[in-house]
């Protein structure tokens, strides 16, 4: 059908062409060629971006749902998976109604306006400010997948004890007051930290080190502290009930992350390849780093350690992925693997909070490290982010001679930490008051979230 239609339009175009020739101004053949080239590039970019959209959604479900689901006790598997899944629904609706507009409407440096309310004007034509070669709707969809996974990452901190109603209200409010403003500040037109679109403090964040990982990781820490420990922690055994599920989930995250980072090039060109390579190298080196540290300190390299390390590396390379060469990507990953191991295994136990699935130790710590190292290793050879008046590329990272970039990165990190910590605390207080307590009752916690919150069980082995 489509084919017939395009043939028809071709012949129509041919007829128009004949008329045009009869008229005074013949169209130049180069203009037609240029239009053809543009259409071809647009199709190629759009194909990759739609695949990337799907890959990033796959990170939440089933990726994160399996990763987190395997780490909890058997009685909480469905409740934990549901916390990821429900965001695929709720965060999507919220994004369509107001989220996209508040994030990417021009607005002021701190929050977008309501010009795209209900997705008004977001259609097939590109938004040339953000991505000139793909439909505006594709850009909107790609960004939506980030708005889904970010609150889902936080759920690792309050796993096994948060009331479903409280979790829903929390993530809605959190999206509105933490995620959308932060996404606007870093990626929105005229955003305060936007390095490409006139930000006051140009902070480099290719795919979401500050917006996604610091924001979710720091909020996770606040959640863990405000909500308190799981009943019986750390004296009762709370072993992961299925590292097999976690393993599958982590590997799906790794694959999905190619869409997350390489898709953030917003096109299918060499920058996407570069980000793809950096992402993969970061994950690989971090898995090595974590395993090495664990082997030396605990005598055994664990599977959970390997997959946790890979995720930590993916987190850390996220802000840097579109700015660094392969060797720095290996370095960033390796450092992240060791650093996050230390944060999860040592620092958490020292401070005594119960970040059940280590959302802070991996995403908060890895995101912060990655954001700062981006300022060190970014290079104009990969991404000429800064240019002088004559259009000549200027140094980007510290090793290239732009030491000030590390300062900008630290400012970006500090703002993200501040917004996430303060507003998460406030939201938790409000949600607790509205829903009559953030936690399930002690009896429900003993029974498990599956039965108490959803009325079902994950494993009916006798059925």
């Amino acid at each position: 059908m489509k084919r017939i239609f395009s043939m028809l339009s071709l012949s129509l175009a041919g007829a128009a062409h004949m008329f045009a020739q009869a008229a005074a101004t013949p169209p130049s053949p180069t203009a037609a060629l240029e239009a053809g080239v543009k259409a071809a590039q647009s199709s190629a970019d759009n194909a990759w971006m739609l695949v990337s959209c799907a890959l990033v959604l796959m990170m939440t479900g089933p990726g994160l749902a399996l990763f987190y689901g395997g780490l909890v006790r058997r009685k909480n598997i469905l409740g934990t998976m549901m916390q990821s899944f429900i965001l695929m629904a709720i965060a999507t609706v919220l994004w369509a109604l107001v989220g996209y507009s508040l994030s990417f409407g021009e607005g002021n440096p701190f929050i977008g306006d309501l010009r795209y309310l209900f997705l008004a004007g977001v259609g097939g034509d590109p938004n040339t400010t953000y991505a000139a070669t793909i439909p505006h709707q594709t850009f909107m969809t790609f960004q939506m997948m980030f708005a889904i996974i970010t609150p889902a990452l936080i759920t690792g901190a309050f796993a096994e004890r948060m009331k479903f109603s409280a979790m829903l209200l929390f993530t809605v409010l959190w999206s509105l007051v933490v995620y959308y403003p932060l996404a606007h500040m870093v990626w929105g037109n005229n955003g305060y930290l936007n390095a490409f679109l006139g930000g006051k403090v140009p902070c480099l964040d290719f795919a979401g080190g500050t917006v996604v990982h610091i924001s979710s990781g720091v909020s996770a820490l606040v959640c863990a502290i405000v909500m308190g420990k799981r009943k019986g922690y750390p004296n009762e055994p709370m072993k992961p009930h299925s590292l097999v599920l976690s393993f599958i989930g982590a590997c799906l995250l790794w694959v999905g992350w190619f869409g997350f980072n390489a898709g953030s090039a917003l096109g299918a060109g060499s920058l996407a390849t570069s980000a793809f390579v950096a992402t993969h190298f970061g994950a690989a080196a971090a898995a090595c780093g974590w395993l090495l540290a664990e082997w030396l300190m605990h005598g055994k390299p664990s599977v959970l350690g390997g997959i946790s390390g890979a995720v930590a590396g993916l987190v850390a390379i996220t802000p840097a992925s579109g700015f660094v060469k392969p060797m720095p990507a290996l370095i960033i990953g390796f450092i992240a693997g060791i650093f996050c191991f230390y944060m999860v295994v040592k620092v958490k136990n020292m401070l005594g909070y119960d970040d059940s699935l280590d959302a802070f130790g991996v995403h908060g710590a890895g995101g912060t490290l990655g954001a700062i190292l981006t300022g060190v290793f970014a290079t104009k050879d990969i991404n000429p982010a800064f240019k002088d008046a004559a259009g000549v590329a200027l140094p980007v990272g510290m090793l290239e001679g732009n030491g000030g970039q590390v300062v900008n990165q630290v400012i970006g990190v500090a703002i993200a930490w501040g917004i996430a910590a303060v507003l998460t605390f406030v939201i938790l207080k409000i949600v607790g008051a509205v829903t009559g307590g953030l936690r399930v009752s002690p009896e429900e916690e003993t029974e498990g979230l599956d039965l108490s919150q959803h009325g079902e069980e994950g494993y009916n082995l006798e059925a």
Partner: protein, 112 residues
């Protein structure tokens, strides 16, 4: 009649079954259980969180035999279940007062 109850390593179950079959014991009840004796448990570490696992998976094999055959059965089970390492398990022997076949209410050794 004697009841012989053997708690053994799970991976030794097949060998024990074969050994019993070889001497003509054709009734038994097998249960998956957890427990420990002198073996104690082992340590598991998940992201630095250490767990001491005290109760290990074992298999319990129960059978009731005529008193005259008890020693023969015990030797067969012990030989088949043995690895020589700590954790091989234990065999307990009890006197059985009565046995009844539910199908036809036969009693005593004929019910075995």
């Amino acid at each position: 009649m004697k009841k012989i109850e053997a708690v053994i390593q799970p991976f030794k179950l097949e060998e024990v079954k074969e050994a019993l079959k070889a001497i003509g014991v054709d009734g038994m009840t097998v249960t998956e259980v957890r427990g420990h004796g002198r073996q104690k448990g082992h340590k598991e570490v998940y992201r630095g969180q250490e767990y001491q696992v005290d109760l290990l998976p074992k298999v319990k094999v129960e059978m009731v035999v005529a008193s005259g055959r008890a020693d023969e059965v015990i030797s067969a089970v012990a030989a088949a279940a043995k690895t020589g390492k700590i954790g091989d398990g234990k065999i307990f022997v009890y006197e059985v007062a009565e046995a009844i076949r539910i199908r036809n209410e036969e009693r005593g050794e004929t019910a075995l």
